[in-house]
C-alpha cells in the first residue's frame, strides 16, 4: 500500500506539471490558433536560465530563489512570449497549416540551438528541489516532498486562475474572440495584437513554470530530454481537444499517473526488457490513442484560394532538362571536389530523396507527416536486417514475406492509379513476380539474412521500401481519419515511438509467419549494439563503396528519376485527385471520392520512398546509430527545411536535403577556418561558426513566414527569365565562362575556392543581366500613349493604333465630321 501511495504521489506531481504545461499550450492555441511546438523548448530554456541564476558559479548565480523565480517567470518568460508573437507568429496570417506548424518547429530548434550554444560543455547541471531534497512530510509510511506539494498546489491555483481569466474577465474573452475573428474584435474596439501578445506571454509563463518545476525531478538538466518531457504534455492538451481546460488538467494527471503506475508494475522497465523504454514513451502512446479516439471535426472546406502558398506544376520536358542539368552539374563537380565534399553532397541528395516523400505526401496531398525520418530509419533497418545483416534468421519464410509485402503494396497503391479488376490483378501479379525474382534469384532464400554480404543489393533496397511501405500503411490505417494538426501530432507521436522503442531496442524479437517454416520464421535483433553497419551497394560491376564519386552520381540519378516520376504523377489523374483532396476535402467527398483509400495509398507510397531514401542514406553513411541520423529532431529539421525550400516542388526537397546536409556545415567550416587563420578575430569567427551551425536551420525556418511558397521557386523564377530568346547570348557566354573556369580547376590551374569565387558570381549575374536585357527590350517596344509627342511623334502607325484601341472607325470623313461637330 505504501508503495502504491508513493507511486501515486510521484504520478500526481508529474501529472500536475504536464497539466500546467498543457494548459499553457491550450491558452496559446485557443487565443492564436497556432499550436506552439516550441512550448517544451521554452520550458527547457527557462529551466536552464533558472539554474544559471540560482546555482551557476560563473555569471549570474546564487540569486535567492524568489528573485530568480520572479525574474524567470515574470520577466524573461513573458518577454520571450511577446517577442515570439511580435516577430514570428504575427506573420503567419493567411498561411497554410503546414507553415503554421513549421515555424513553431523552427522556433523550437532555435531554442535548442541557443541553449546548446549558451550552456556548452559536459558540465553536470543539477537543479535542487524547492526547500531541498530532504524537506518532506508524510502520510503514513509515504513521504511527500515539499517540491511535490508545491507542484500540486501551483497546478490547482493555476487551473482556477486560468479558467477565471479566460471566461470571467474582459481580457480573457477578448483573447478568445481574437482567434475567431480579429477584424471583428478590432471593429468592436478590441486590440487583437495586444490580446495575442498577452496570450503568448501567459503561455510562455506556463511553459517556464513547468520547466522549472520538472527539472529537479530529472536529476540533471538535458536540452533534448527536457524539451521532450514537456512535449509529453501535448497528450494532455489533446485530451482537452485543445480548448477544454478542466479536461486538459485531468489529462495531465492521467498521463502522470499512468507513467508512474507503469514504472511500478514494470519495476521501471526491468520486468519486460523489450518494453523497457515504454516508461518514457507511454505519454506518446496515450497521445496517439487519444487522437485516434477523438471525434473529428467535419470535413473542412476550401482554404487554398485564400492562402499565400501557391505551387505551379512544371512540365515534364523542363523537369527532364533540369534533371540532366543536375546530373551533369554533379558529375562535373565530382571531378573537382574532394571526397569529403562528395560525401557531404551525397548525404544531401539522399536526404533530398527522403524529402521527396514529403513533397508527395504534404506538398501534393496536403497530409502532414512529422515522421519522415522515422520511416527512413525503418527503411535503413529493414535493408540491414533483410539484406546484409547477419542477425536475422530469415529461413525459407523470407521469400514468402517479400511476396506478401509486394502483394499488399500492389493492392493498396495500384487501385489509386485507376487499375481495377483484371488490370489490377495483372499489375499486382507482375509486381509480385518481379519482387520474387529479385529476391529468390539474386539473393536466395536460405541462411542468415538474405545473405551476410559485404554490399547492399538492389533487391535489398526494394524490400526495404516494401517493408517501410507496409509500416506506413499500418500507421496510416488508424490515422487517416485525422486531418491537419491532429494528423501531424499522430505522426509526431509515431516518430518519438520509433526513436525510443525501435532505435533503443536491444532485445531479440521472434515472429512466426503462418503456414511457413518453423515457429520462429523471423528472428530480429533490431538495434543490437546501438549501431548498424550498412555497406554501400554494388551493382553492375560498380563498387559504390570504393568510389564516392560513383555513389554521388548514382544518388543524383535516383533523385532525378523519382522527381520526374513524381511530377508525372502530379500531372496524372492520381495527382489531380490528390490536389483536389488538398484543396477541398468537402468538395471531393460530395463528388464521390473515398478519401480514406486515397490517403492510405499516398501514405503507403510516400513511406516507400522514405524507406528507399533511408536505406540509401544509411548505406552512404555506412553506419547508423540510435541517435544519428534518423532521430525525431533531425526529422523535424529536414521537414522544416523542405517546407522552406517549397514543399510543393521537388526542388524544395533538393533544397531541404542539400541545405540540411551541407550548407550550414560549409558555413560553419568556413568561419572555423577563418578563426584558425585570423587568431585576433577568433572570437568573431567562432561566434559566426556557432551561429551558423546551431541556429542556421532554425532561422531559415523562421524566415518562411515571409515567403511561404518556398525559396526554390524564387530561385527558379529568377532563372526563368533566361529562357527568353533575347537572353540566349547571356546564357551562352555565362555557361562558357563557367565551363572554362571548371576546366581550369580540373587541370589544377587553381583550387576549388577560386573556382567557386569565379563561377558563382557569373551564375548569379546571368539572371540579373537577363532581367536588365529583357526590361530594356520591353521599354523599347513599349509605346505608352501618354508619352506621345514627347518621346516620339504622332506617326500614322501610332494614330491608327490609338484608333483601334479606342474603337474609332478609321474612315477619315467620319473623323473630320466629328472634329467639325466639336
Amino acid at each position: 500500500m505504501a508503495e502504491f501511495l508513493t507511486f501515486t504521489v510521484v504520478g500526481l506531481a508529474t501529472g500536475a506539471i504536464y497539466s500546467i504545461a498543457s494548459a499553457g499550450l491550450v491558452v496559446t492555441y485557443t487565443t492564436s490558433g497556432i499550436f506552439n511546438f516550441a512550448h517544451g523548448a521554452i520550458g527547457m530554456f527557462s529551466a536552464f536560465l533558472y539554474w544559471q541564476l540560482r546555482w551557476d558559479e560563473g555569471w549570474g548565480g546564487f540569486w535567492p530563489a524568489p528573485i530568480a523565480l520572479a525574474f524567470v517567470l515574470f520577466i524573461a518568460a513573458p518577454i520571450i512570449g511577446i517577442l515570439l508573437q511580435l516577430i514570428v507568429m504575427r506573420g503567419l496570417e493567411g498561411t497554410s497549416e503546414t507553415t503554421k506548424l513549421v515555424i513553431p518547429i523552427a522556433v523550437m530548434l532555435a531554442f535548442i540551438g541557443i541553449t546548446n550554444w549558451v550552456w556548452q560543455g559536459a558540465e553536470q547541471r543539477i537543479p535542487k528541489p524547492f526547500f531541498g531534497r530532504n524537506a518532506k512530510w508524510s502520510i503514513g509510511d509515504t513521504y511527500i516532498t515539499w517540491h511535490q506539494t508545491i507542484i500540486v498546489i501551483v497546478a490547482i491555483v493555476l487551473a482556477i486562475a486560468l479558467r477565471f481569466l479566460l471566461f470571467n474577465t474582459k481580457i480573457g474573452v477578448t483573447m478568445r474572440a481574437v482567434v475567431d475573428n480579429p477584424e471583428l474584435v478590432e471593429l468592436n474596439g478590441g486590440r487583437p495584437n495586444r490580446s495575442a501578445m498577452q496570450s503568448w506571454a501567459i503561455g510562455s509563463i506556463m511553459a517556464a513554470i513547468a520547466g522549472v518545476l520538472i527539472s529537479p525531478l530529472l536529476g540533471g538538466l538535458g536540452v533534448l530530454a527536457l524539451t521532450l518531457l514537456v512535449v509529453n504534455a501535448y497528450a494532455a492538451a489533446i485530451f482537452g481537444r485543445l480548448k477544454n481546460l478542466p479536461l486538459t488538467f485531468i489529462g495531465g494527471l492521467v498521463i502522470g499517473l499512468s507513467v508512474s503506475y507503469w514504472n511500478w508494475i514494470s519495476r521501471t522497465g526491468q520486468k519486460w526488457p523489450w518494453l523497457s523504454e515504454l516508461r518514457t514513451t507511454l505519454p506518446i502512446v496515450i497521445l496517439f490513442c487519444v487522437l485516434l479516439l477523438l471525434p473529428q471535426d467535419r470535413l473542412r472546406g476550401n482554404r487554398a484560394g485564400s492562402l499565400r502558398e501557391q505551387f505551379r506544376v512544371p512540365s515534364i520536358r523542363s523537369s527532364i532538362l533540369w534533371s540532366f542539368a543536375l546530373v551533369s552539374l554533379v558529375s562535373g563537380l565530382s571531378l573537382i571536389i574532394t571526397s569529403k565534399w562528395e560525401a557531404l553532397l551525397t548525404r544531401g541528395l539522399t536526404m533530398a530523396i527522403i524529402g521527396l516523400s514529403m513533397v508527395l505526401l504534404t506538398g501534393y496531398a496536403g497530409e502532414l507527416n512529422l515522421a519522415p525520418l522515422a520511416f527512413a530509419g525503418i527503411g535503413a533497418i529493414a535493408a540491414f536486417q533483410f539484406d546484409v545483416g547477419s542477425a536475422v534468421e530469415t529461413g525459407p519464410g523470407f521469400a514468402t514475406l517479400a511476396t506478401l509485402l509486394a502483394a499488399g503494396f500492389g493492392v493498396l497503391v495500384f487501385p489509386a492509379f485507376g487499375l481495377f479488376k483484371r488490370r489490377l490483378f495483372v499489375a499486382v501479379t507482375a509486381f509480385i513476380l518481379l519482387v520474387f525474382i529479385l529476391v529468390v534469384f539474386f539473393d536466395g532464400t536460405t541462411g542468415t539474412g538474405i545473405a551476410s554480404r559485404e554490399s547492399m543489393s538492389l533487391s535489398g533496397l526494394v524490400v526495404a521500401s516494401l517493408i517501410t511501405a507496409s509500416v506506413g500503411a499500418t500507421v496510416a490505417l488508424p490515422a487517416i481519419r485525422l486531418r491537419g494538426l491532429y494528423l501531424a501530432l499522430a505522426t509526431f507521436a509515431f516518430a518519438i515511438f520509433v526513436d525510443k522503442m525501435v532505435y533503443k531496442q536491444r532485445e531479440t524479437l521472434t515472429f512466426d509467419i503462418p503456414f511457413v517454416g518453423d515457429s520462429e520464421d523471423l528472428s530480429i535483433n533490431l538495434f543490437n549494439n546501438g549501431a548498424l553497419n550498412i555497406p554501400r551497394p554494388k551493382f553492375w560491376g560498380i563498387d559504390f563503396g570504393e568510389k564516392q564519386w560513383a555513389m554521388l552520381i548514382f544518388v543524383s540519378i535516383i533523385f532525378c528519376c523519382i522527381s520526374v516520376a513524381l511530377i508525372q504523377l502530379r500531372k496524372s489523374s492520381y495527382g489531380r485527385q490528390l490536389t483536389a483532396m488538398k484543396d477541398s476535402p468537402a468538395a471531393c467527398a460530395t463528388l464521390g471520392m473515398n478519401m480514406r483509400r486515397l490517403k492510405l495509398s499516398v501514405f503507403t507510397l510516400a513511406a516507400a520512398i522514405a524507406g528507399f531514401g533511408g536505406a540509401l542514406h544509411a548505406s552512404n553513411l555506412r553506419t547508423i546509430q540510435e541517435d544519428y541520423p534518423f532521430t525525431i529532431w533531425e526529422g523535424l529539421a529536414l521537414f522544416m527545411l523542405t517546407v522552406v525550400g517549397g514543399i510543393g516542388y521537388v526542388s524544395g526537397a533538393l533544397f531541404g536535403g542539400i541545405i540540411y546536409a551541407c550548407a550550414f556545415i560549409v558555413m560553419g567550416d568556413f568561419w572555423g577556418k577563418l578563426a584558425e587563420d585570423w587568431g585576433s578575430f577568433d572570437w568573431l569567427f567562432t561566434f559566426l561558426q556557432d551561429f551558423f551551425l546551431l541556429l542556421g536551420p532554425a532561422l531559415a525556418g523562421i524566415g518562411l513566414g515571409r515567403n511561404p511558397s518556398g525559396v526554390a521557386s524564387q530561385i527558379f523564377d529568377g532563372f526563368r527569365i533566361l529562357r527568353k530568346k533575347e537572353n540566349n547570348g547571356i546564357v551562352g557566354v555565362g555557361s562558357l565562362l563557367i565551363a572554362f573556369s571548371w576546366f581550369l580547376r580540373v587541370i589544377d590551374v587553381y583550387n576549388g575556392w577560386v573556382f567557386i569565387m569565379t563561377s558563382l558570381p557569373i551564375l548569379f549575374l546571368m539572371p540579373l543581366l537577363g532581367e536588365a536585357n529583357t526590361r530594356d527590350r520591353d521599354r523599347r517596344k513599349d509605346t505608352s500613349i501618354e508619352m506621345a509627342g514627347i518621346d516620339f511623334g504622332f506617326t500614322d502607325e501610332f494614330i491608327s493604333f490609338v484608333d483601334k484601341e479606342l474603337s474609332i472607325p478609321s474612315d477619315p470623313m467620319w473623323k473630320e465630321s466629328r472634329i467639325n461637330d466639336e
Binding site: 476550401n302 501557391q310 489531380r576 485527385q577 468538395a587 460530395t590
Partner: protein, 249 residues
C-alpha cells in the same frame, strides 16, 4: 413507397443550445426544380449539408429514391447520384477550369459505381459539351483562382453536372452574377431539369426562384413556414412577414 427523388423527414440539427434546423420535412419530385428560400441564417445550407452527408442530423431521416441514406458517408451519397454546389465556393484552386471538371470525371471513374467515361475520347467530348453549355469554354485553361465569382459558380455546376447526378443541390448558384447572367442561368437550369436531373435550389434571387422553380419551400428560424407554387408563396402572409418583418397591409 413514394416517387420522390429526395425526401427529408423530421430533420433537426442542433449546435450546442442553438437549433439550426427544426423538424423539417420536405421532398423533391423527379424532373422538377424545387426552391428553398429563407432569410440569412434560416438553416438552408445546414439542411443541404445534412442531405449531402457533410453534417449528421440530431434527429430525422434522409431518403434518396426511397433509400434511407441518413447514415451514409458523403461519398456514398454522391455515388448514388446526389451532386451539389456550395454557397462558399469549393473549387480546386490549384487546378485549371478544365481540370476541375476533369477531376470530377476521374473521381467518378475511379471510385464510383458507374464509371461513365472509360474512353478518353468520350471523356474529352463530354467535357467540351459541358464547357459549351455552361459557357466556360473561353476560360477552360484559366486557373480556378483567376476567374470571377459568377463563372466560378458555373465551374462548380459543371463539375457536379458531369458526374451525371440524379439530383443537383445548388446553394446560391446565382450570387455573383449580373441580371443578364442570372436570366440565362435560369434557362440553363430549366434545360438541365428537362434532361431528367431534378434540382433543389437555395437562392436569394427571388426573380430566379419565382421564374424557374416548380415548387418553393420557405425556411425561417430552422422551420418550414410555407410550401407551394411560386405564385402561392408570393401571396403567403407568413412568408411576407418573415421577409419584410411586417404583415401585408
Amino acid at each position: 413507397m413514394t416517387n420522390d427523388v429526395l425526401a427529408v423527414e423530421n430533420i433537426s440539427v442542433q449546435f450546442g443550445g442553438h437549433i439550426a434546423v427544426n423538424d423539417v420535412s420536405l421532398s423533391v419530385k423527379p424532373g422538377t426544380i424545387t426552391g428553398l428560400i429563407g432569410p440569412n441564417g434560416a438553416g438552408k445550407t445546414t439542411l443541404f449539408n445534412v442531405i449531402s452527408g457533410l453534417l449528421t442530423p440530431t434527429n430525422g431521416s434522409v431518403y434518396f429514391m426511397d433509400q434511407d441514406i441518413t447514415n451514409s458517408a458523403p461519398h456514398k451519397r454522391a455515388r448514388l447520384g446526389i451532386g451539389r454546389t456550395f454557397q462558399r465556393l469549393e473549387l480546386f484552386n490549384s487546378l485549371s477550369v478544365v481540370d476541375n471538371i476533369r477531376v470530377s470525371i476521374e473521381i467518378s471513374n475511379q471510385w464510383g459505381y458507374l464509371r461513365p467515361y472509360q474512353d478518353e475520347a468520350n471523356t474529352n467530348a463530354e467535357i467540351s459539351r459541358i464547357l459549351d453549355i455552361t459557357g466556360l469554354d473561353a476560360v477552360r485553361n484559366t486557373m480556378a483562382t483567376e476567374i470571377p465569382t459568377g463563372q466560378a459558380r458555373l465551374v462548380e455546376l459543371a463539375r457536379a453536372l458531369i458526374s451525371q447526378p440524379k439530383i443537383l443541390l445548388l446553394d446560391e448558384p446565382a450570387s455573383g452574377q449580373n441580371d443578364q447572367e442570372t436570366e440565362s442561368f435560369g434557362l440553363l437550369l430549366r434545360k438541365i431539369c428537362d434532361s431528367g436531373i431534378s434540382i433543389f435550389l437555395v437562392e436569394h434571387d427571388m426573380a430566379l426562384v419565382m421564374n424557374t422553380c416548380d415548387e418553393v419551400n420557405v425556411l425561417d428560424f430552422g422551420c418550414i413556414i410555407a410550401t407551394g407554387t411560386p405564385s402561392e408563396i408570393q401571396e403567403h402572409e407568413i412568408v411576407i412577414e418573415a421577409y419584410l418583418g411586417a404583415k401585408k397591409q
